[in-house]
Subunit: 321 residues, 2 copies
């Protein structure tokens, strides 16, 4: 494996992320190649192997490298990164179903149920949930401490389930349609609205992003203090990622975005942008970027090792799709 | 804990199963009582805490007791039994959704999505999948070997996912509507049809039943030979359970059955009964009962210890709902 490190003081994020993304994609292709071809596996592969940012996998790897140094321990963290991408893929499949967001396009392609039908898409999501945990257990190197691996599997379940991602989706559903009430008090100082939006984000997208960062570092042997700081960093990044997403929904188009834009306002979804408007959203993004960078500055981790995490925070904010 | 053992040579299955079922129900109630009340947890609880046979939990406990003796190690096996019931509950929730079987009644009550809506029911199923694995990891006593516990979690994922329950549901979907073709060659010697039905059953209901028996014994320290025999026993029981289910669908009514009867024939589902008819189904059940009992006879396990498994096999076949 030839892995770009810092060749000089200039960190080459484009090469770094391209190489890690390929490692994850190749590993996922390997996991899915072993299977008998049938409709279920096709449906699962359609979503997991589709092009995507692989942001969560990159965060997991970058967080591991923040502890052990760039290019180290990648084989250990790859199964975990792939498991996280499987969970992310399943969340998109179920989220796009008619019973939830009823979306026809995702990443510029037809959504899973538009290709395979609702029944198969539903079951493919279920199967991906279980495959994620199975992959994490079976493919993580055997020299990893067994209790540590159990902790990571358990935290994956928590991040994905009722206390995390799924819980956030339910909150999102609960508040969708109640936008007008919240818009009537459009003040960033009104903590009730901020708390509502934060609770939705913390679950729906934040939980898996936090898990990605926590688990990568945890597998790499981070201590409690490092884990705490990295989780705080992940919370800033996750929140920024979601606000950037909401901004893109408000300002993007189908070609650059790969999914139907303007849906949040049309369906009265409660987001930072629909409640506080674009200007305050941009201001919040600035604050979150500064907070995230400050956390890494104060982490005592070598700045060379945290360079990928810094770039990923900027990417989460300044991406165009 | 006061647990019925064999007070004399007569094994009291009614008391045995009542006590174990209560242990499982109380433990599930304990797990679900700790949660903040909200729609998602209500929806999850609605299905998990509803009255049911708890057959899979009982099988898991009985299989553990077949190894360590009646009344022993119950605290170790209870979290696992509860996890299995959570998986079973989620499979019913997703199965009943309009995208799949579109059923309005289950165990005489409205199905989950008829009460909480499709979106919440879908998400409650997802959350239960993850809670099952989390419960197994967090609640199983810490003195259980960590690698053994990882193996059990991994096997749970396999039994539930694409290679097990979910895969069986996809096969079921694939063959539903193709009944007429199969009925035209209604001969029990025609292996193509038997193989199709067996493959559907092996996944859809068989995989979780096999896991229940395997995991209970595995947690109790069974050796490879014992595990192999108990899995063979579980396959007979699982198959018999499904054929009995198909017979009940064909002959039952809403009051005794608790769900809409006659749906298999109406929706051209491929089952032993719709393909071969009731008479051959009854004959097959007799064969499976004999095979199952023979396996236990040859297992070298004390017959006192295997009494619950024998009774559960009979119950799977002769139950009326």
């Amino acid at each position: 494996m030839h892995i770009v490190e810092c060749s000089n003081n200039q960190f080459d994020f484009v090469s770094y992320s391209k190489e890690r993304r390929e490692l994850v994609e190749n590993k996922l292709a390997e996991y899915f190649a072993q299977r008998d071809p049938n409709t279920l596996w096709e449906s699962m592969s359609y979503s997991v192997l589709s092009e995507g940012k692989k942001l969560r996998a990159l965060l997991c790897i970058a967080s591991s490298e923040a502890i052990v140094g760039l290019g180290n321990n990648l084989e250990s963290v790859l199964p975990l990164s792939c498991a996280i991408e499987m969970i992310h893929a399943m969340s998109l499949i179920h989220d796009d179903l008619p019973a939830l967001d009823n979306d026809d396009y995702r990443r510029g392609k037809l959504t899973n149920h538009k290709v395979y039908g609702e029944a198969i898409a539903l079951l493919a999501g279920d199967a991906l949930l279980m495959l994620a945990a199975e992959t994490l257990i079976e493919k993580t190197p055997k020299n990893i401490d067994r209790q540590l691996l159990l902790n990571i599997v358990s935290r994956l379940c928590q991040a994905t389930g009722a206390a995390g991602m799924v819980g956030g989706q339910v909150l999102d559903l609960t508040f969708t349609g109640k936008l007008t009430e919240l818009q009537n008090s459009r003040s960033i100082d009104d903590h009730k609205e901020v708390n509502t939006i934060e609770a939705i984000h913390r679950g729906k997208t934040g939980a898996l992003i936090r898990f990605a960062v926590w688990s990568g570092a945890s597998l790499a042997g981070a201590n409690e203090r490092q884990l705490l700081l990295l989780e705080q960093f992940a919370d800033k990044l996750g929140y920024a990622f979601q606000i950037a997403d909401d901004l893109l929904d408000s300002t993007g188009n189908l070609v650059t975005l790969g999914k139907t834009p303007g849906k949040d306002q049309a369906s009265s979804k409660v987001t930072w942008v629909t409640v506080f408007g674009e200007k305050l959203a941009l201001q919040k993004l600035e604050d979150l970027e500064k907070d995230g960078m400050d956390i890494l500055d104060n982490s005592k981790l070598p700045s060379k090792n945290t360079a990928p995490l810094r770039e990923l925070l900027k990417y989460a904010i300044y991406r165009t799709s």
